[in-house]
Amino acid sequence: MFESVDLSLVNWSRAQFALTAMYHWIFVPLTLGLGFIIAFMETIYVKTGNPEWKRITKFWMKLFGINFAIGVATGIILEFEFGTNWSNYSWFVGDIFGAPLAIEGIMAFFMESTFVAVMFFGWGKVSKKFHLMSTWLTAIGANLSAVWILVANAWMQDPRGMKFNPDTARNEMVNFWEVFLSPSAVTKFLHTSTSGFVLASVFVVGVSAWFILKRREILFAKRSMVVAATFGAVASVMLIASGDSSAREMAHTQPMKFAAMEALYEGKTNAPLVAIGLIGDPQDDPMDSTAHEDFRLKIEIPNMLSYMAFLKVDAFVPGIKDLILGNKERGIMSYKEKIVRGYEAQQTLVAYKKAKKEKSADEAVLRAKFDDPQWIDNYFKYFGYGSYYDPDPLQLEKNAFTMIPPISLTFYAFHIMVILGGHFFMLFLAILWLLFKNKLENNRIVLWTAVWTIPLVYIASEAGWIVAEVGRQPWVIQDLMTTSKAVSQIDTSSVMLTFFLFAFTFTALLIAEIKILTKQIKIGPKKEGRKQ
């Protein structure tokens, strides 16, 4: 078994980054959504003056505080990794990545640290309205600080608004708004933040269901559920809509990821969407032109994939092989052609550096190419593909087939996310319906389902990031830089050591969070006037 594990530097670096990002993402979405849920609860308290709503708000605020505190600064590790493990990448992206992260850090520090303090220390010391405003600003601040890291991530998936400077080997931002408001950035922010809203809603609904099952704090639990299930149902609609936009955007900017999500090998018109599928035996690795679709089982929705990608039921959706081998009839350039063009761009950069060093007459001509929009569009756009170049055409085609992302993982992560997303929406509707009919208390199946949906929502949330990050391999910056070129040439053993150090630290943090949270949930909301 261990013979098949690739212990290379790039894989350990990827594993390390994936570990830290996934652990970080355990804490973040609950903060994003629970902030708004407690803001709604406190608004009801301020509007009605009913002290029971203050008690409800304070209980969920306590759980928010625990999660916020355990999760805070776990993302800093990712920034450490950029400089140490991904130094080529960090240099290449220049300030495009640095600026949003700096804004995020400043906003998170000033907005959240100020208003979180008022939220927790301010009860009875500041006016009700000022306290409420602080709660709202904490929720808004948490989501706004998420904007910047998501803008940076969206730029990696769909780089735009920048220009490459061959003198510094860095990309420089030329249009902030093109970076900030790119369709990928907008859909990524909406989809990610609404997924946090759904996760937090499931958390509140699940914990409240546990109280009802234990026949404790039933009114408190029902009131919490009304707020959370309503918020969750509305957020689910937004989540589905933003997911739909995200998929359409992806079909244009990252067609390989889109094809991998559906395990679509051959392009099709009237392409169906695989609703449920079980992929057959793994194909040869690396694949070749004989690779083909292989499902043991699948249930399809006719025409849906074509409609999802291009809003036309008869639209052609390119498959993995169309993208690798090209499809002249459909105007799809092959990866082989892109590799040759990317290699040309890379060699131009090498020639320019040489000419500059030797002060040759070619220097100005070569430099001008990096300012020529036509050359950029025809060659530099494919810069990263050049890493797969080989003078032998057969080897070049073999190299092109190594550029396919892991299909099974991308396919299953996407389908798990979508199926569970549907389950959450139905759960919110069922809870609201049963609350309306006053039949929830005795429906133990729905109540236990709500409790057991808590781990499922975390699985769905992580699956979403697996689709986004595994599906875009081999790119760290789409079409411009591969993961293997982004990694720092450092000792593999040091990456392994830090991987296990992180695994230990983050696992300890997660255990601490779960223990403190479960202890406080078991204690339950306290009567007003007692120290919380």
Partner: protein
């Protein structure tokens, strides 16, 4: 004299405002419930591990450490990203 008195008054007001803010935080931290004390202990321990152990011993910026100027860093990165 009038200007001096106005500035003095403003300074006193600022001092009072700052004092209230500091008292707000001090009172908040001194009255922390048990769960919050545990959480603050975890935060401080976590920050210590991250910034003192991880950052100092394991996460130095590779390019800053190995090259003295940006030109050398750029040349190194170009070499790295243009090898097929």
């Amino acid at each position: 004299m009038i200007k001096f008195s106005w500035e003095f008054h403003a300074a006193i007001e600022n001092y009072k405002r700052m004092k209230r803010i500091v008292e707000f935080y001090v009172e908040g931290f001194t009255n922390l419930p048990d769960w919050a004390r545990s959480v603050w202990f975890i935060i401080l321990l976590k920050l210590l591990i991250m910034f003192v152990i991880f950052k100092l011993f394991f996460f130095q910026n590779k390019l800053k450490k190995e090259f003295s100027n940006d030109e050398d860093r750029a040349n190194y990165v170009i070499e790295q990203i243009t090898i097929p």
